[in-house]
Symmetry: C2
Amino acid sequence: MLTQRQRDFIEAAMQIAAEKGLSKLTIRNLAREVGVSEAAVYRHFPSKLALLTAILEDLQTVILPHFRKLDKGNEGEDLEILIDGFIRGLFHELEKRPAYAAFVFSEEAFHTDPQLRPLLSKMMQETLLVLTDSFQDLQKRDLCRDDVKPKNLAMMLMGSIRLTITKWHLANGSFALSETADELIGAIKRLYSSA
Amino acid sequence: MLTQRQRDFIEAAMQIAAEKGLSKLTIRNLAREVGVSEAAVYRHFPSKLALLTAILEDLQTVILPHFRKLDKGNEGEDLEILIDGFIRGLFHELEKRPAYAAFVFSEEAFHTDPQLRPLLSKMMQETLLVLTDSFQDLQKRDLCRDDVKPKNLAMMLMGSIRLTITKWHLANGSFALSETADELIGAIKRLYSSA
DNA sequence: TGTAAGTTAGTAAACGTTAACTTGTTCTTG
DNA sequence: CAAGAACAAGTTAACGTTTACTAACTTACA
């Protein structure tokens, strides 16, 4: 359970990470951003690790639902509509809150941290699993080609989404993520649809 | 032109980055790894930035040729053989020298650095361009489906390769990269071959 | 009156970097 | 050919800054 003040700090932390990069996310900068002393941060988080953990857990609750949407396809919806909804929803979330992008793919940045790494690894595992299950379901409903394993379809979709977002993040959001979505959705639709 | 001693430092730096993560790659740790004082590092590199730049440039000369191979397909070689050679060659390189993996996808880690960022951005751009050109060529030779733009084929291939390597790196190389290659190659072959 | 949330002022450790000095090799020149 | 200058590559010892974090104290409010 997070307090409102904790949420304030998390929001500010994400802002810093998005603007200046993860390495600039220090207690000093965070305190400055919120407008308090450094010591005040420790009234709300026992350590920096606790803060980062809280951020990642919060992130997961925002991102995961988008992945689950792909699974909840109603009857009558074809592959294109489902993929479209999934990618556009995810991209829209990231454009709305660009701060997320800095954390979504921060595995390498936190690769060294023994406490944070399993958490990140789990997050990636979980998103991949949800996607794999979705494609398995789509194959059963004959909405998706079944000559490629669901796991590999998931890996390729996830991989291209990640690369797209990385490119976008690297370009400081100078192009519209939604535009790239069109291209990506079109390609996936053609490649993944049942022959 | 790098001196032998500079190469020693670069090798040690990669070792550290691979084992402990990029954030542990400090002048202190590098000097310790090589077995000299910190000041000795500055006899060979004017600054840490120069060291990192040298590492990335060295990396590029090792990685890029693998990408170009896809373009140089001789007559008689089909899509599967070309993709197979490309992916297997790249993965083999990374298994042989796991230290590379820490840098290959370090865009986010160096996202903040104004000097390093363009270099990384250029590297990604270049690999993507080489792949795109390759697929354009393959499409012309009717070795690859042409209802999806070369650019998007490149993005998806590159994305899934990156994700595979990230997973591998995150798992500390506990599974064989070559094994995953089989799955990936199989999937690409089916998805990309001309109908 | 107790607690939550802030403050100031500090800590030790790590960061990249530099100055001044030593050593060994190599190049030049009388 | 030996003397000495030049140089490459190392050393120790410091520098100023930044890091995460803490102790002790104040203030506002239920």
